[in-house]
Point group: C2
Chain length 250, copies 2
């Protein structure tokens, strides 16, 4: 079986840590990369602070196959991601001619253009990530991919990477719903997990339309093992006197 | 000035990293703790894996005044947070009599009760965090606070900690909206940031009702400095030919 390809997501921005902004980028990255065979195994939310960003990038790029960052690549003083990545890789920051060309397509007075050109800065040796929304591109250097924080722009940049990343086995998930408490199924579930160690069996309680229930989620790479685990779980729910609802892949 | 009190949030759960579930706990924790004078400076999302949880807890509890975890304290095999915290503190896991008493209030057959009692496990020396929703309590040991992953329950547990945490200066935020691109204000904003280094000036572009704009956010602990910075920003927006909209504290 091919080896898993792993990723770490770094959400860079004081506004997430202050609670001002609800992050939605991690969820989109996890879902999309997962479909491409890249498993997000870790994420960090860190402030706009040079030392923190540099140290975190260097720590995580050594641990995971890919690191994806979002945030901090705009034209203002608090946009410090590009310079931090350059520092992490110990290379000079340059103005990339292709990003510059795109920025200059839209004329502006000198002082405004000077600010906009800050978005053309990339570490020496970086390659570009296209920005289908038409704005300045993102970039990657080594295994670190640097994208915008605005969700619409980040999603556009990510979409341009489709097919360009190394991929491993795709983790599929299969869900079964049971209107019963977690404790009612806990013991059987533990035994099923022991019997099928190649998959992860997760249990997620919910409360919906005045009823308690549990979503039982199987995650794994081998369809046959997932199916066998699903059958075992449905049998256990039935044995406990409830009717399992097969939600299929979701 | 009293020293800042800092916190790290650990979101524990494969379901967040797979993209199946959108985390909302970090945002609630950041906002609520911020109001209490505890600044969330860092967050990590980590999988249900013993070594990862133990190492992350030990690394972060040494770096921050508080660590708050969410997730992994239910009754099933994938709920491993309590045992990981015990391992991180190198103390035995015990069954807490107060949690046990609460669980036994609701009768159940032996096997289901056995599963439910797994939620009574805490590290030796832990104290309880009340659970106003009526379910099993959370706990804390040292500076590590362990709470449920289900948002409604986590929020209830957190609310019971009001007034119980050490607190530092509260970071206040003040927002000004300007219907202009970031680049138009970038230079002036950088100068204002240099002039008022005690506050953080952030710039967040948006697109709303077919108009581009930028929210300019000042964050700091001293009301007079925040006010002076706000006045400087509004003057800069006016000088650039736009009308600033003072959104006040938000």
């Amino acid at each position: 079986m091919p080896q898993a390809v792993t990723a770490c997501v770094l959400i860079i921005g004081n506004e997430i840590l202050s609670g001002r902004t609800q992050d939605v980028n991690l969820n989109h990255l996890a879902t999309t990369l997962g479909e491409w065979g890249v498993q997000v195994k870790h994420a960090r939310v860190i402030p706009d602070d040079v030392d923190t960003i540099v140290d975190t990038v260097n720590e995580t790029r050594a641990q995971f196959d890919y690191v994806f960052t979002t945030g901090g690549i705009g034209p203002t003083h608090d946009d410090i991601t590009a310079q931090c990545i350059a520092k992490a890789f110990d290379v000079p920051l340059i103005q990339h001619p292709d990003i510059e060309a795109r920025i200059r397509q839209r004329p502006a007075p000198d002082d405004i253009m000077a600010s906009r050109l800050l978005m053309a800065r990339v570490p020496t040796g970086a390659s570009l990530i296209d920005n289908p929304t038409g704005g300045p591109q993102g970039f990657y250097i080594g295994n670190v991919y640097v994208m915008a924080g605005i969700p619409m722009i980040m999603q556009g940049m990510l979409s341009s990477l489709k097919g360009a990343l190394r991929s491993g086995p795709v983790v599929r998930s299969r869900s079964i719903r049971a209107y019963m408490g977690e404790s009612q199924i806990a013991q059987a579930l533990g035994e099923i997990q022991d019997k099928f160690p190649e998959v992860d069996v997760g249990s997620y309680p919910f409360f919906r339309e005045s009823r308690y229930g549990t979503n039982l989620v199987i995650r794994g790479t081998d369809p046959a093992t997932i199916e066998a685990t699903a059958q075992a779980i449905m049998a256990a729910v039935t044995a406990a006197g409830e009717t399992p609802e097969d939600l299929g892949e979701e």
